[in-house]
Amino acid sequence: MRIVFILGCLFLILACEKEANVKLPETKPLPVMYSYICPTDTLIRLKLTYSAPLYTSNQVDIFSAVPDADVRISGIQGTAQLIFNPNTQYYELQTSTYPIVAGQAYKMTVITASGDVASAETQVPFSSVPINDVTVETIQEPYGETSDRIKVSFTDEAGSVNYYRIAALYNYTYPSLIDTTTDDTRINELYSDANHDGSNTSLSSRYYMFSDSSATYSTEFYDVFLYNCSPSYYSFHKSLKNNSGDNPFAEPTLIYSNVKGGFGCFGAYTRSGFRYIKQ
């Protein structure tokens, strides 16, 4: 009987791995662009890279900026070109020369040196939504750690479909130092007011500090932001947040893109802020 068992195991081990004999989808490298515009920002910028098809021999560094493209923004004020800045690796344009106006629609067009064309459109929300209140609650976590639960309250803009995001920067200063250090809290809560139009809303998220939690700071505060976003901004960040990477048990996430002829996101937002001084 043992022989039978060993034979059985042998056959199971033979369960094999081989190259799949199926027709694979044919793809080529496509432009990938990211740009988020806001009426109160000083700069319009765009990051341009290329995608890497998985099953062809094109070796593409997907994080490497593409410097030689023609990038233009067009809107009610006409068209303007964004120039590549080798220091920042972004295509940039000062809003002092091309202001972004709330409520207006814009189109970003990219033509690469190899002739690939990608474009996307977005509309800037009409107004920013003020933050009514921010509370921060320190929570005891396992292993002696703590986290801060940051809660942002606001009143949804009535009469329109709105998309929101909260974000916060954590600022602290060591007693012996003068400069303030800023950490991005990475809180990234997103909310759509579908079915809750005009209501008082609060979004909260936890920040696990990376700084030295045992230290006592001379100043410690949060700069909390509420973004009123375009649908494309919201959908892209929502899909990125849902992306579970390699978890084989999770539903694969399709990353949102509003770019025709490529991938990425061209989004717009308005922003309101609130400084919370931590006691």
Binding site: L169, D184, E251
Partner: protein, 707 residues
């Protein structure tokens, strides 16, 4: 030599009549009485149903020789299997949770052993198996897509019989016989795997790992008199993985187990020749447990996870024949479901690690009232019209749904009929499944006000023909099925990330992890079947489409379900050469599953709170690599096909019949893909799409003894 004796009888058929047949025992060597009768399919109102003779199931070659009812059901048109080797069943576009699998009237919540490679049903203990795919009679409810009704044998009332079997994976034993002759009988059937026992001597003393499953069926049948019978039946089965390690100062034990328990007490009462009833009390439970115990000197860490669903139910069904043209069934049923979807308890020598993360136990109540009439309208028209009122109550959320049912048969000619049916079904229990392959970790949860009951409507139209001389039945059917409130996990969600507490949402609430959507399935099925004779078997073909649509998946666009299968073919043949040798073979073909495959990768950039000044902000890298999948489920796996063959040698010994079987699974060793992954080839500097295949050619042997 046969002896015929003539006897003249006067029978009064308006009351019960018992007939006895006297035969000259001295002249008979063997009498074989078959319980199966070839029904005329063209006569019946019921369509979209298949009954499979249990004896035929035992003759069909199977994976590692383990005869499996559910895998034979997968060979029927309209029924698709999941992945390689899996016992998961997908009927007319429905998921595996949409099958009402009932064993002696008790629902079985997880019909899988060994992650779905085998089902929990031991063919030796079964009397009958019926599959209904559409045109559901009103007496059935609670699931959208199918009813798989399994009945255990009652136990021989005359003398002790038994059957024993030894296979590569497991051994089994069945005994049945009278407790009080002609009055009370019993059946006990059990099987157990022995991989753990075989490998035990090869494992180190301080490290033991093993797996086993076992199941047991038992039934007692008591005949009080001609009018009253009592049946008590039960099933108990369990799968267990374990891993134990021990050294001088550390000790660890880990285990994963799951299993079903069912019990049915049924009283069958004949009021008169026109009315009888069945009163059943039903218990069923499915439980998954994960346990881990670690000890380092005086430090310890104990983890226990449990997920349970438990039902207590009652059914009271009546059959009433007021007139030869009417056969009325009516009744009621009620079930109390008790759920503990997730309970995680951690106890540690470090109190900071202690955790009691238990989702609240839920008690829900489900009920139904039904009436149906199988009505012979004329010599050509027969119909089954019915109505079911289903109800469900869960934590103050109450649902009441009417479910009309209708089936019509019109005789077009001799043994040739046209059939049509309509059925509305509601399902108040959801199965949260990440993989759809029947992992024991799949969770059953009730419908709530946020996650509404699933509902389906199905219409079917078909032709049925009996070729009596050839013992053949032929059916052709088309169906169209709408489903709403079907469930799926949200993108990126799984039961494994319950610990993600960076969000506002309560992550332990399963309702936050799922989305409801719509389903649509349509297609055509063809079946030609021969149940009687030296050569038996069937050919089935299905042409089908299955679509799903969720607002928050695939950007709201509909997409093909994973098990959307354009073509599905099954050919099954069993040939009894003589009393000693039976040959059998199956061949299956199915279009590849629709999956979501990465086809490109690219970088992303999140917008950060610091905006263009992000370089001044510490601790944040807003870039990440993601995959482009194209549209959801837009890639087709390679088609699945496989042939199995088997040969059985029967030998009559002094006190028993011995059957030796040699079978080969996947005889031409087709490497069917189980899953795909991407691998980088250093030589060609290209990514390759690789596949893992599970079972190559796999011979097996088994012996069975019937006495």
């Amino acid at each position: 030599m046969w002896v015929l004796k003539q006897k003249k009888l006067n029978l009064y058929l308006d009351k019960d009549v018992n007939l006895s047949i006297e035969m000259g025992a001295e002249d008979l060597e063997e009498v074989t009485i078959s319980a199966e009768q070839s029904k005329k399919i063209s006569e019946e109102t019921q369509m979209s149903s298949v009954d499979i003779p249990v004896e035929q199931i035992k003759q069909i070659p199977a994976l590692m020789g383990e005869k499996d009812v559910l895998k034979v059901i997968q060979l029927m048109p309209g029924v698709q299997k999941g992945s390689e080797g899996s016992a998961g069943i997908y009927v007319r576009g429905g998921g595996p949770d949409q099958n009402l699998i009932i064993l002696d009237e008790a629902p079985v919540y997880n019909a899988n052993h060994l992650f779905g490679f085998f089902s929990v049903f031991n063919g030796d203990a079964l009397k009958s198996v019926e599959l209904i795919k559409g045109g559901f009679p009103a007496r059935y409810g609670g699931r959208l897509s199918s009813v798989i009704d399994l009945q255990m044998k009652d136990g021989n009332k005359e003398k002790i019989h038994g059957e024993a079997g030894i296979g590569i994976i497991s051994s089994r034993l069945t005994l049945e016989g009278p407790i009080i002759k002609n009055k009370c009988s019993f059946l006990v059937s059990a099987r157990r795997t022995y991989i753990d026992v075989l490998i035990y001597p090869f494992l180190p003393k301080n490290g033991k790992v093993g797996y086993y499953f076992y199941d047991m069926n038992a039934k007692i049948n008591y005949v009080f008199n001609d009018k009253d019978r009592l049946y008590l039946s039960g099933y108990f089965g369990k799968d267990k993985f374990y891993l134990n390690n021990k050294s001088t100062d550390t000790e660890s034990k880990a285990g994963l187990d799951w299993g079903n328990t069912t019990g049915t007490l049924r009283w069958n009462h004949l009021y008169n020749s026109r009315l009888f009833s069945n009163l059943s009390l039903i218990f069923t439970r499915y439980q998954l447990g994960i346990e881990s115990r670690e000890k380092y000197g005086t430090d310890y860490f104990n983890l226990k996870y449990i997920s349970t669903i438990r039902d207590f139910g009652a059914k009271y069904h009546f059959d009433f024949m007021p007139h030869p043209n009417h056969y009325i069934k009516f009744g009621t049923n009620a079930t109390w479901h008790h759920f503990i979807p997730q309970a995680l308890v951690v106890k540690s020598s470090d109190p900071g690690n202690n955790l009691n993360n238990t989702s609240r136990a839920m008690d829900t109540y489900e009920g139904g009232l039904f009436v149906e009439d199988d009505w012979r309208v004329s010599s050509k028209i027969k119909m089954n019209v019915g109505f079911r009122l289903s109800a469900f109550s869960s934590k103050g959320d109450n649902f009441v749904n009417p479910e009309p049912r209708a089936a019509v048969r019109y005789l077009l000619g001799k043994d040739f009929s046209l059939k049509g049916s309509y059925a509305m079904m509601n399902q108040y229990l959801h199965l949260l499944s990440n993989t759809g392959i029947g992992l024991p970790t799949d969770l059953w949860v009730p419908a709530t006000n946020r996650v509404k009951p699933q509902q389906s409507q199905q219409v079917a139209l078909g032709l049925a023909k009996d070729l009596k001389d050839q013992n053949l039945t032929i059916t052709v059917e088309g169906y169209y099925k709408w489903m709403k409130n079907v469930l799926n996990y949200k993108e990126g969600s799984s039961f494994l990330n319950i610990d993600d507490n960076s969000s506002t949402e309560s992550q332990n609430d399963w309702q936050d992890k799922v989305v409801s959507g719509k389903g649509l399935s349509y297609g055509a099925e063809f079946l030609i079947q021969k149940k009687v004779g030296k050569f038996t078997g069937w050919i089935g073909y299905t042409l089908s489409w299955t679509w799903l649509q969720f607002d928050s998946l695939n950007f709201g666009e509909r997409y093909p379900a994973r098990y959307d299968r354009r073509h599905d073919i099954s050919v099954v043949g069993i040939y009894k050469i003589n009393d000693h040798i039976t040959l059998s073979s199956t061949w299956v073909y199915g279009t590849g599953n629709a999956i979501t495959l990465p086809i490109a990768s690219y970088g992303t950039e999140q917008h950060t709170a610091s905006g263009p000044q992000q370089s001044q902000v510490a601790g944040y890298w807003p870039y990440s690599a993601v995959s482009d999948y194209g549209k959801k489920n837009s890639f087709r796996m390679a088609p699945y096909h496989r042939m199995d063959i088997g040969i059985q040698f029967h030998k009559k010994l002094k006190r028993c019949v011995r059957t030796f079987e040699f079978s080969v699974y996947n005889v031409y060793s087709r490497q069917n893909p189980f899953f795909y992954f991407t691998e980088y080839d250093k030589d060609t500097k290209k990514n390759k799409l690789m596949q893992i295949s599970l079972f190559p050619i796999l011979p097996s042997v088994s012996w069975s003894y019937k006495f």
